[in-house]
């Protein structure tokens, strides 16, 4: 062999090797921080190790308005990533604006996914006018966390150490009163400072439990149901069962340090309890239950869902092999949904949600089924959904009512005015 042929052979070998090692890069933007972020990273690493064809590269951005603004602007200039995480509550706003690329049944099928594999309610939430704009990943409703030590002292547990059923506002009020009288702790820890969202989520749940509706034809119609729900909540603050004004981290700290008997929060705090128990940092035994029935027999609970979506990058459309890679990754995440479920979220993928492995997860089994079947989303509309403007407006006035800065009537009328102004004045480019 001459030197030249040797060189050529070597070159050919190297480029061949390079070609074989060059996987298609799938860019993935998400807003998953904390434990959710860690679990998503596990899933991405697992996927990248499991095959050679694609490589998913994630960029983690700030949750909320910053994330959605960035996706919106980058999509409009043709610089969007291949894949994003998305709240299904925003589909009704984003789909009509052509910001998301519809995913066809064939594309899904080629990745081994089909409609029948998902909770019907979630599938419906990921669709708009007959087209699929996202692949649902989970449901994350609010649940009731309780401190078994305090609840036990207040006589709220049954013989097996579980919370006795709470079936009305009166039941819940009585439970918090017993806690306050017998232990001096706060009844409930819930985020309620200015611009906090948990009050709105609670209100959405309680209005829905009365069979009420919040928005109809771009107008606030919460009326009597809305007033009753807010009045009942405000009374808990007035009685001193809930501290006024704590922000999100403070409310979680109140519960985890044993200063409150109950906490109402999203399922995403489940890992805090599980890890706290494992490392013995949680100074008490805890339990979880679905959000109580406050009115009648309906057990509606506010919830939202994460999903995966492909930005509709019109100026720079996503190539077919990137679509295939993104869907292949989504399918992998769905099939390994138990990892995601450990974050408290209820998997959207039925084969996992019904699997023995997921159902053995504790404490998820105590709330998953009931919560998933009663989940209530934010009212649909361009203005609605996670970090949407309607939620932001409610987050101004509802906490002010809790803090006693505004009366219930005043807070609701201010909310209605600003919300109606927003919903009437849609820019139509």
């Amino acid at each position: 062999m001459t030197r030249l042929t040797r060189l050529l052979t070597l070159g050919a070998l190297m480029s061949g090797a390079a070609l074989a090692q060059q996987p298609t890069k799938i860019t993935f933007w998400n807003f998953l921080g904390g434990g959710d972020g860690a679990r998503m990273k596990t899933l991405i690493d697992g996927y990248n190790d499991s095959q050679k064809k694609y490589q998913v590269q994630q960029t983690v951005l700030a949750w909320g308005v910053p994330f959605y603004t960035k996706v919106r602007t980058s999509t409009s200039v043709g610089q969007a990533p291949d894949l994003i995480s998305f709240h299904l509550s925003r589909i009704s706003g984003w789909a009509p604006e052509n910001l998301l690329r519809p995913i066809t049944t064939q594309e899904l099928a080629s990745a081994g996914l089909k409609q029948a594999d998902f909770f019907p309610k979630l599938w419906q939430a990921a669709n708009y006018q007959g087209k699929t704009y996202a692949v649902p990943l989970d449901t994350h409703p609010m649940i009731l966390y309780y401190n078994k030590d305090i609840a036990g002292k207040a006589g709220l547990l049954d013989a097996s150490g579980k919370l006795k059923p709470i079936n009305s506002v009166a039941d819940f009020t009585a439970a918090m009163k017993a806690v306050k009288d017998k232990t001096g702790a706060y009844g409930l820890a819930i985020e309620n400072g200015p611009n906090s969202y948990m009050g709105w989520r609670m209100w959405v749940s309680m209005v829905a439990q009365q069979g009420g509706q919040i928005v109809k034809d771009n107008k606030v119609v919460a009326g009597e149901a809305g007033k009753k729900a807010l009045t009942d909540m405000v009374n808990w603050f007035k009685a001193g069962y809930i501290q006024k004004n704590p922000d999100y981290p403070t409310s979680v700290a109140q519960f985890t340090t044993g200063k409150a008997a109950f906490m109402i929060n999203g399922v995403w705090e489940v890992p805090t309890m599980v890890d706290g128990t494992k490392t013995k940092k949680l100074p008490f035994a805890y339990g979880v239950a679905p959000l109580p029935k406050f009115y009648g027999n309906q057990q509606n609970v506010w919830g939202d869902s994460h999903g995966f979506a492909i930005p509709n990058n019109a100026k720079n459309p996503i190539p077919a092999d990137h679509v295939a890679g993104a869907l292949d990754f989504i399918a992998y995440v769905q099939k390994n949904g138990v990892t995601w479920g450990q974050g408290g979220h209820i998997p959207a993928y039925l084969p996992v949600a019904n699997s023995a492995q997921y159902n053995a997860l504790k404490p998820n089994a105590d709330y998953a089924k009931a919560s998933a079947s009663n989940v209530t989303y934010d009212p649909p509309g361009w203005y609605s959904g996670a970090a949407g403007p309607l939620e932001a407006i409610a987050a101004k006035y509802l906490p002010a009512a809790f803090a006693g800065q505004l009366s219930v009537d005043k807070a609701l009328s201010m909310f209605e005015n600003e919300a109606n102004k927003l919903m009437a004045g849609r820019p139509k480019p």
């Binding site: 999509t75 409009s76 400072g193 109140q254 403007p389 101004k396 002010a400 807070a411």
Partner: protein, 302 residues
Amino acid sequence: MRDTLTPQARVQTGVPRTTRRRPPGGPIALLMLAPFLIAYLLFFVFPIGRAVQLSLTQSSLTATGPFVGLANYVQLVGDSDFWASVLHTGTFALYTVIPVTLLGLLMALAVNRLVRARNFAQALFFLPFVLPVSVVTLLWQWILNSSFGLVHALTGTEVAWFGEPGTAMPTVAFVTVWWTVGFNMLLFLAGLQNVSKEVYEAAELDGAVGWKSFRFITWPLLWPVTTLVLTLQLISSLKIFSQVYILTGGGPFNSTRVVLEYMYDTAFQNLDAGYASAIAVAFFLIILLVSLVQAALLRGRS
């Protein structure tokens, strides 16, 4: 280039002799200015022009919509939310401009008297200014947290400083003063060190010591620095955004929503870029007007 043509060219064209003294101009200066001029046109003049143009349309955040003339401005004049936000911005300026100037001066006077510890004290007072806004706000959120904060631990008070309409704006102003006063102190210190010792010695011979020396020597000689500080401070106070955005989000119930927060909410949350541009342009004019009036007033004093 013209200079290379002289003297014959001058004689031939009959250009008066005095123009000889003009600095070499035209093309070379333009060439040297070009990079800055381009940047200025591209990143300042063009965006302003675009903002004015957008403010005359009905646009969403990412798509420019139809031309609607002055409709956005007509709406703005009758928009009580806008005027409330102007009022909040003014209140914030009121809470910060004078205190931060006065405190800066007092701190400079105190530090200037120190001999050995001067650098140390200077560094100590200047330190907060070095911190980014996110750190400053986080720090004070922790200190003032109504359940777990330092102030709560020391005094037992459960006041939610950023959560009550009565305390939210003063507290944001307080944090801002704490954060920015060090810079003004430096400006005053520089001013103080420019006053020559001989002036004080001469005044002392005439019996001007203590308050009198400050009133008749230091204060008048520091006036140029004071006008500078006041002007800079007024403009930066009117442009308040990040502290409000992070600490209160404009709440509770809009009571601290300043103009730029309102503009941000309109553009990025309500996706109404046309109206947000109108707010921006109107506010640009307001700041311009206020600065001109202030400059005129202060010039009168000197």
